[in-house]
């Protein structure tokens, strides 16, 4: 047993060092990132609004499931009407799946039906790593006070089949509706499913 102690101590220290940014109930990490029009979007300027962060990779079969079905575009559109700022984030590095050349990004984003308030380009992965975005799709919700209140999956069925969208427990939608209603989020942290973010 004695032999194990140093390992545990190191593992514990490592956990402390990394578990800073994405904790539920803590201030969401601030960021500035460029949208497809080249404009800077800063979280600090969005205080007072509910903000959604959605990691996307249009070529990942799990993101595709929610775009070709129209599920994500529909959600983006309907929550825009409820004063939610929706930020879709692309953290694919240049040369990796889902990367969009900034000059062509807007065209692709429109073609895919994305209706987010801003589509953010994060090829260096800074925003992705600040939130520890793991997969596409990975959803975060920040409340009007700037507190992180949701970190998890879009829904409960981690498949690539469109037919499963209707059958799934809509974890993210439930969370966002709760935040809008000023209610606590029940399942605030859960394991998102998808492709790894292509950092």
């Amino acid at each position: 047993m004695m032999k194990l102690i140093p390992f545990v101590a190191i593992a514990g220290a490592f956990a402390l060092a990394t578990a800073h940014a994405q904790e539920i109930g803590k201030p969401a990490p601030d960021f500035t990132a460029k949208n497809t029009k080249g404009e800077e979007v800063a979280l600090s300027t969005l205080k007072g609004k509910i903000v959604v962060l959605e990691w996307a990779n249009f070529d990942c079969p799990f993101s595709k499931k929610h775009y070709t079905s129209g599920n994500l575009p529909k959600l983006q559109e309907s929550y825009a009407g409820k004063d939610v700022v929706w930020l879709t984030v692309n953290s694919s590095a240049e040369g990796k799946q889902g990367y969009l050349d900034p000059s062509k990004a807007q065209e692709v984003v429109s073609e895919k039906g994305n209706k987010a308030t801003h589509y953010l380009l994060d090829p260096a992965g800074e925003l992705g790593k600040a939130y520890d975005a793991k997969v596409t799709p990975h959803l975060f919700i920040i409340d009007a006070k700037g507190t992180l209140v949701y970190n998890g999956a879009i829904d409960s069925l981690g498949t690539t089949e469109v037919a499963d969208i209707e059958k799934a427990d809509k974890l993210f939608v439930k969370a966002l509706d709760a935040v809008i209603a000023g209610q606590p989020v029940e399942n605030a942290k859960n394991q998102p499913y998808g492709c790894t973010v292509k950092y």
Partner: protein, 265 residues
């Protein structure tokens, strides 16, 4: 561009292989026997070959990825048992830990005809999967087809392949007990066995139960008096106390891969 080139490869290789190709892999359905007897189970298997540099996933895929899924379209009275998953590998893709397979993987499936089955049957199913490498993930699927006829037992050319595949399926372990206790985000695992050659420190350990153990670091057991112990971080998504944990233990320290389960009292 990626999708288009996959389609082209698929069109070319479907002529060269019986197995259907898509999503950086191909798959077919094989049987240890070319015949069946009414009411008697037949040992079949789904064989998948993943392209070099790509992998597909175990029943517990880890932090990303997807468990392969099979759906059957069988004649009335026929039934297929659960698809069995062989011992996986642990890998890291884009910093996320996963469990799965590279190269060839064979998933045994027991097929049972009804007592009334007769003649020549053409059976169908479909397998869908996700293949990933460091840069991309692509979905794949293959229609599965097996032609089998009623008759005396007759080994197929795949009989050895299927038999070998069965040896890689973990079996429930007798004489091995797992205990789990929890302390401050750490899981203390303890194995006890009276099997003389049992040595989990010479084994690879995989958590069958998803969202229980942090998959980032391999589980390593060390001799601790009369038992073996390991300390692992609890999975960050396991918020409630753990109720159940199943581990696969495979490698030099066991005669064959085993599965051991702990249930909270």
């Amino acid at each position: 561009m990626i999708a288009r080139s996959v389609l082209m490869i698929s069109a070319v290789s479907s002529m060269a292989f019986a197995a259907e190709r898509s999503g950086q892999a191909r798959a077919d359905w094989i049987s240890s026997s070319t015949s069946f007897q009414p009411g008697k189970p037949v040992q079949t298997a789904i064989r998948m070959v993943v392209d070099p540099g790509w992998h597909t996933y175990w029943s517990n895929p880890g932090e990303a990825g997807m468990k392969p899924k099979v759906t059957w379209d069988l004649p009335e009275g026929w039934s297929a048992g659960e698809m069995l998953f062989p011992v996986p590998r642990h890998f890291s893709t884009g910093g996320l830990a996963g469990y799965g397979y590279e190269g060839m993987v064979i998933f045994p499936v027991t097929l049972t005809p009804p007592a009334s089955a007769t003649g020549k049957m053409e059976l169908k199913g479909k397998i869908s999967w996700l293949s990933c490498n460091d840069d991309s993930c692509v979905p794949g699927s293959a229609e599965l087809k097996l032609v089998i006829h009623e008759g005396p037992p007759a080994d197929s050319e795949s009989v050895d392949v299927v038999a070998k595949a069965l040896t890689k399926i973990p079996k429930p372990a007798d004489r091995v007990t797992l205990k789990v206790s929890e302390n401050d985000g750490q899981l203390q695992l303890s194995l006890v066995s009276d099997r003389p050659s049992f040595d989990p420190s010479a084994c690879e350990i995989f958590p069958v139960t998803p969202q229980a153990v942090d998959p980032a670091n391999p589980i390593r057991f060390e001799k601790d008096g009369s038992s073996w112990s390991a300390v692992v971080a609890k999975n960050e998504y396991a918020t409630a106390p753990l109720r159940r944990l199943t581990l696969v233990i495979a490698g030099k320290g066991v005669a064959e891969p085993i599965e051991v389960t702990w249930n909270a009292k």
